[in-house]
Chain length 397, copies 3
Amino acid sequence: MKDIPLEEKLRKLESLRADLHNRDFLLTWEHSLAEIRSILLMAECLQALYSAGRSLRLFDTGLAVSIFRDQSTRTRFSFASAAAALGLNVSDLDEAKSQIAHGETVRETAVMISFLADVIGIRDDIYLGEGNRSMREFAAALQEGYERGVLAQRPAVINLQCDIDHPTQTLADLMHLERRFGGLAGLRGKKFVISWAYSPSYGKPLSVPQGLVGLLTRFGLDVTLAYPEGYDLLSDVVELAGKQAAESGGTFRVSHDMAEAFDGAEIVYPKSWAPMQVARRRTELLRKADQAGLKNLEKECLAENARHKSWHCDEALMKRTAAGSALYMHCLPADISGVSCPQGEVSRDIFERYRLETYREASWKPFVIAALIVLTRVPNPAAALRRLVEAAAPRIR
Amino acid sequence: MKDIPLEEKLRKLESLRADLHNRDFLLTWEHSLAEIRSILLMAECLQALYSAGRSLRLFDTGLAVSIFRDQSTRTRFSFASAAAALGLNVSDLDEAKSQIAHGETVRETAVMISFLADVIGIRDDIYLGEGNRSMREFAAALQEGYERGVLAQRPAVINLQCDIDHPTQTLADLMHLERRFGGLAGLRGKKFVISWAYSPSYGKPLSVPQGLVGLLTRFGLDVTLAYPEGYDLLSDVVELAGKQAAESGGTFRVSHDMAEAFDGAEIVYPKSWAPMQVARRRTELLRKADQAGLKNLEKECLAENARHKSWHCDEALMKRTAAGSALYMHCLPADISGVSCPQGEVSRDIFERYRLETYREASWKPFVIAALIVLTRVPNPAAALRRLVEAAAPRIR
Amino acid sequence: MKDIPLEEKLRKLESLRADLHNRDFLLTWEHSLAEIRSILLMAECLQALYSAGRSLRLFDTGLAVSIFRDQSTRTRFSFASAAAALGLNVSDLDEAKSQIAHGETVRETAVMISFLADVIGIRDDIYLGEGNRSMREFAAALQEGYERGVLAQRPAVINLQCDIDHPTQTLADLMHLERRFGGLAGLRGKKFVISWAYSPSYGKPLSVPQGLVGLLTRFGLDVTLAYPEGYDLLSDVVELAGKQAAESGGTFRVSHDMAEAFDGAEIVYPKSWAPMQVARRRTELLRKADQAGLKNLEKECLAENARHKSWHCDEALMKRTAAGSALYMHCLPADISGVSCPQGEVSRDIFERYRLETYREASWKPFVIAALIVLTRVPNPAAALRRLVEAAAPRIR
């Protein structure tokens, strides 16, 4: 097995002096650029080692816990894959099978499942205003338990999608862009469009578009957020995006015209979401378990969505992008016209053209999650990686 | 990493000459004091190693199977955590997904899931008169399979709560007491009260109070079992408790007055349970799937419970305990007045005062389960632990 | 620990020059005799090592994914046990918890769960004409992903029962026969009967009888397929069985008389199944979610089944077999008269006489699955096994 040349990356990692040890990862914009860069570097190293057939076992034993309060395929498997690759067992807290309905509080549950846990991955994206807050409550309980000697270690809480951000998705997106445009520096001045697109469904989380504008505006891109009037994101995040763009030497603007937004774009990310106001009303109705109200809201929203069927990523629109060949991105699954629904976010031919590219985009997520686990749980990550490189242990013996 | 001084504990373990290898753990009182002490010693050693960041891997590979016939959070995660820490994978037998409804017998299922299994943890606490019996049937099938050469090894069956006992809970409770009172010897003459307490629910298992009087009466404590008239436990267990108390130099008595019971108590464990007669009727109704009957029984029981709302662990009651500061214990989740229900087992302020103590109490459970796995499955446990100490392998590499 | 003499088997394995690396296992008859023999040899080696207490860890880390579109106990645990024994974590794709209903296509899902996966085990046996086809679609997506650089490795797809074949069951059956009759050569000329038997249920898959005639006719046995008129299997498989029997020097015939079929039989496998025509109609009704139609079909089929209650494996029938003591086999769970149903496939006394034999038969399945994983995923399996033998690492340290 030939040597894997990671030394340069590991030195760069060390020079960044980012310290995520014993910390959580809940919103990308709470973390310094050095920390974000460290995550990308670590994910690249892990991917290089895995692809070369090397073992990534950094834990002799240990436990990764997942909590999914919404459906998931790729994030669930990314988390399970990352944990397994590092040597951790995975245990899922299936709340239907637990006694949480019996009156356990979040903070009690947090400690009860963490006595021997290394990392807790949480998806909690349905209730606007609650998901991220609940993760913080969870993390605070772990911190208290650790400080008061109840927990022998401080498990990291990793956001696997909340009401505000979807950091493991957007970091995977960023890695895909980095690879496609020759490094982060290559992204400066690139025209990126995250656009609402029509879907015959409602209630899709705001976390992906919010997470994208909250992350990509930090890297000097010219970011356009396009959506029909009324389909607003959380204003805090939009304001932050503007501020970050200015600081990074990029730009950020909002457009209400998909076609205009696509003009000259180098990267397009057309994706449906529920307007923030709808997400808020839906949250209230869900909390009241108001089934009739939810039905009405869905009907109303689908009717409103249907007024914007022209927000459709097709050949005509793609022709307006730079050289007619912008990079198409999606977090998957996409609503593909004539495939998964009669009309959706993207035409069949466009999706098919970029299908394997979207798979490559998704392929980074397990390594982003693995990087987060390593950086939050391994005391000296660069040294640990160096030992992995030197050991040169094949994953399959 | 500094040396972990376990040699004294390991010599003590060896001197006890308890042999749990190839055995099950179904009721604490079926096991000698030497065996119980061995479990505590092993759990302490494993906890010390884990807290020092050492790997507890005693299995290169292997499988732990869990079967939960009732909801669980902390026991489920304790089992998964213990198994993972020792190097075992965990597989849950979800009976809804299995063919058990298709006519598999208990003894067939037992063998079918055990060809490569090391330990089977079972929770089966809903049907009075059945849970523990079914575990024995399961274990007998494994024994037959092992003796007849169908199984290459004899998996241990570990009771994760049945209709009679909850040994991993009560052993964790005992470890908590041992730590708080300076060793088992420090428990002699200590006044321990396990008391029924009001809860706006019904059907809670008898296993915790029964398990507590069945275990703690063996260590010379003065044990009081307090409950409103009619809320009886299984008479066999109560008789046994009396006999054991006499043998151990302690005392055992029943009280029907919570306040009187608390007078001068050094440890209090206020917890709701369903009277044995109710558990019996409920079992019959469940067996007949008599939904109307179950509804009626619940209504009747809740009304009866409501007559005993004064059985509430609050400041006034705690003031009557020794120095007003008895150790409060609970297996969790507690029904906390004004938190998880309008009125429950314990007042908010009392629970909050002891909250972290109850977490510490719970923190022993993964190590109790790990100790049971090691003692039942590892041929020479003390020698194996010594090798772990000497290897000094960090859990996180 | 004494040496495990596997060298002869490993040399034989090498001499077969079968190469299953980077391949799938979907139907036994797609694989050469050399490949089938290699699987048996590998399974024997793994079983010998496991029984001797040796570690089978061939993966330092890795992931095995299971997808069960029907209930399962023994295959589920066989897969989980095999994966765990080799050092892999197991993750189950529970489609109810995934976003598959949200419009993910099979090929997208295949890639999304496989970025770090080593093996995908699939049970998909409900829809006639679809299960095996869907596995091929899945495998083709993995192949594309691997060839296009999206996947760093090519996970193996292993058929854990489809509409056509149940290869891990029939290979375990073959290993049981091999052990009972002194090797594969000992099976030449042996009279084997796979017979339909009455069951008060309907809708049992055709995969076991089809798989048996599709596999055993290759080893020179005299195979009789017995069933009441109308309970046909897929004609392709039956034709293949005839052709294979002729080639292997054995025979294959169909009988519509259970008693006659049992005359002089040395091995009998009485088992219920739904006629192919019923399976086809059921598939159509399921696809249309036609509940009334399904009810009617069930009623009609149960009535038809009831006309064949005499197809019952009892003492009288067994007396007709060779020396009155044919080897009874079953894939389990059997419908046992007076045990799991009033009247079923086999009488209580016959089943009890062979019960432990059926457990032994089942005990090979984990090793067959482990052998398939090793042969499809480990580059040089014989060399890897030799290293395991030499390392002599105990599974329990």
